[in-house]
Amino acid sequence: MMKSLGSIRRSFAPWADPASKPFISVRNVTKKFGDFTAVDDLSLNIYTREFFALLGASGCGKSTLLRMLAGFEQPTSGEIILDGQNLAGIPPYRRPVNMMFQSYALFPHMTVENNIAFGLKQDGMPKADIAERVAQMLKLVKLEKFSQRKPHQLSGGQRQRVALARSLAKRPKVLLLDEPLGALDKKLREETQFELMDLQQELGLTFVIVTHDQEEAMTMADRIAVMSHGKVVQVATPAEIYEAPNSRFVADFIGDVNLFDGTVTSAEGGSVRIETTGGIPLRMASAEKPANGAKAAVAIRPEKIRISRQPPAHAPINAAEGEIWDIGYLGDMTVFHVRLKDGKVVKASALNAVRAVEDPLGYDQQVWVSFGEDAGVVLKD
């Protein structure tokens, strides 16, 4: 019986332990294509058994980094160390990593079985062992019945599984996944996300996944590296990235956010007072002490904003009056766009915990939006 994810994952945080050695170490890697710098002086560490996500918009350099790990591209400068071995100059066919391609890259002229066996044959594994391993992989991805089919005789989801089985067949130290679920429809994608997590746990492998889908990264990864313009902007756990983004870019990139720009008026005793450009006085908990008069922004997630008809007790601090401008009913929750007096639109979401409310909020109603002192993050501008 497999252990549940929680029992293992709860205490899994090798990056927080200074004594643990990284499994993959990317050191000051730069990759240029002509004049274009795809990856810019990038450093990061990935630990054994970690599920690590490289997240960013297209063209941010995440795929280039993955391809350098696989050996399809060579860094212009810097080095990549894998399990103590410098990978410089080692061709893809001699690296202990395997990759699952975005297009799956199945060999069209081979059966499912031969696709999975291909890597094992290259290693000169005895035939009986290959057959055994292939059967094992087919069972793992639940494709036993399809071993004799060619790729074009399979559905998208089945092809994805073949690609996964093929990349896992050699038991690589690291599995690289390039947008592995991009071609699947939403429902199948969500199911597969959890399957991948379970599989990674079961096999005890290190996974490095490239994705532009933040939900996918949040769901699966132990840690996420948010990338932009060839650089890592923040590396942290999904919760940290979401709740404590280190920059406007990350706050804006991950999930929905309300950003209040303003000026620091005072900072003392673990809290900062900020006057927003719209004239709302804010008081936010913050470990840092920015100087008075400094520009700052406060990022607050929609679900941490309350909507009420009456002003909250702490008004006017952390509160503002406005009218309901737009309502988006999503079933599990409702998103309100509240237009403040200065014209700023604040997004607030409320969970629909009961089926029917006696007097629901409607369009054009005057309401108060408010939030607690620890609801948001102070970002230096």
Binding site: A70, Q122, H152
Partner: protein
């Protein structure tokens, strides 16, 4: 069904008549009893049986086939390599020049190709004959193979080669285990094209030939200058038959594969639903 207007019928008849009337006449007269080519004197296959006794024609046919097989095979290897280089290594210096040079023989007048090859063979003192014809045919058919293979490679998903490398196959093994099998149909049609071109080439062969190496088109041409005989009609009919058979077989194979593929895909989709 759409209705055929008179104009449509007329244009089809005219077009096909223009294309096929000469060939049809040739085929009909190859079965003519009379020795006079243009006078019909009843059906006969005697000219076909006479072919087997015409040693000159048989020798020429044998030379043609050997030249065709050898030059088509060499041209396919060279043309495929050229196509690979042009598609894959898009960043090497002089790529534009190289690709232009590979295609030049496509538009070069045959007379010029033939003449320049002749000059070359004379200059290096190469004895003209079977080998010079073969070399010349490799030269001018290679670019056709390159064009066919290149168009296939442009739609080739290179990630499958990367996948093979990633799974531990060396570049050489990747080529033979993955790339070549996938582009094989294009390589094969390149070969067929090269073989056909070699089979019916007259101009370049005439320039580069020497004593003892006469190809079938050259033989036919030289005999026709002395007057068309029904024998020539017969051998041409056989040639037409061979080419037509090749085309039909190739298209049936392609169509079959397509139909099979469609059926498989439908089955796969049905299996999910």
């Amino acid at each position: 069904m759409e209705k055929w207007s008179r104009f449509n019928i007329a244009s089809v008849v005219l077009g096909f008549g223009f294309l096929y009337l000469p060939i049809v006449l040739l085929v009909i007269f190859s079965f003519n009893e009379s020795k006079l080519v243009t006078v019909w004197a009843g059906f006969s296959t005697k000219w076909y049986s006479q072919l087997w006794h015409n040693q000159g024609l048989l020798d020429a046919a044998w030379v043609t086939i050997r030249v065709g097989l050898l030059s088509a095979t060499c041209a396919t290897v060279l043309g495929t390599l050229a196509a690979l280089a042009l598609v894959r290594y898009s960043r090497f210096r002089g790529r534009v020049l190289f690709s232009g040079m590979v295609y030049a023989p496509l538009v070069m007048p045959e007379v010029i190709t033939g003449l320049s090859l002749l000059l070359l063979f004379v200059a290096i003192g190469f004895d003209r004959g079977f080998w010079t014809i073969t070399l010349a045919h490799i030269t001018f058919t290679m670019c056709f193979v390159a064009v066919v293979v290149q168009s296939r490679l442009l739609s080739f998903d290179q990630s499958i080669e990367e996948a093979a490398l990633d799974l531990g196959a060396t570049p050489v093994r990747t080529f033979f285990a993955i790339t070549l099998p996938v582009i094989a149909p294009a390589v094969f049609s390149g070969w067929v094209l090269a073989f056909t071109l070699s089979l019916d080439d007259l101009v370049i062969s005439s320039f580069t030939t020497g004593p003892g190496a006469t190809t079938l088109p050259m033989k036919i041409y030289s005999q026709v200058r002395l007057g068309v005989t029904p024998e020539i009609n017969a051998i041409c009919t056989i040639l037409i038959g061979i080419v037509a058979l090749g085309v039909v077989v190739a298209s049936i194979v392609t169509k079959r594969r397509e139909v099979q593929r469609e059926r498989d895909e439908r089955a796969a989709i049905a299996a999910i639903g």
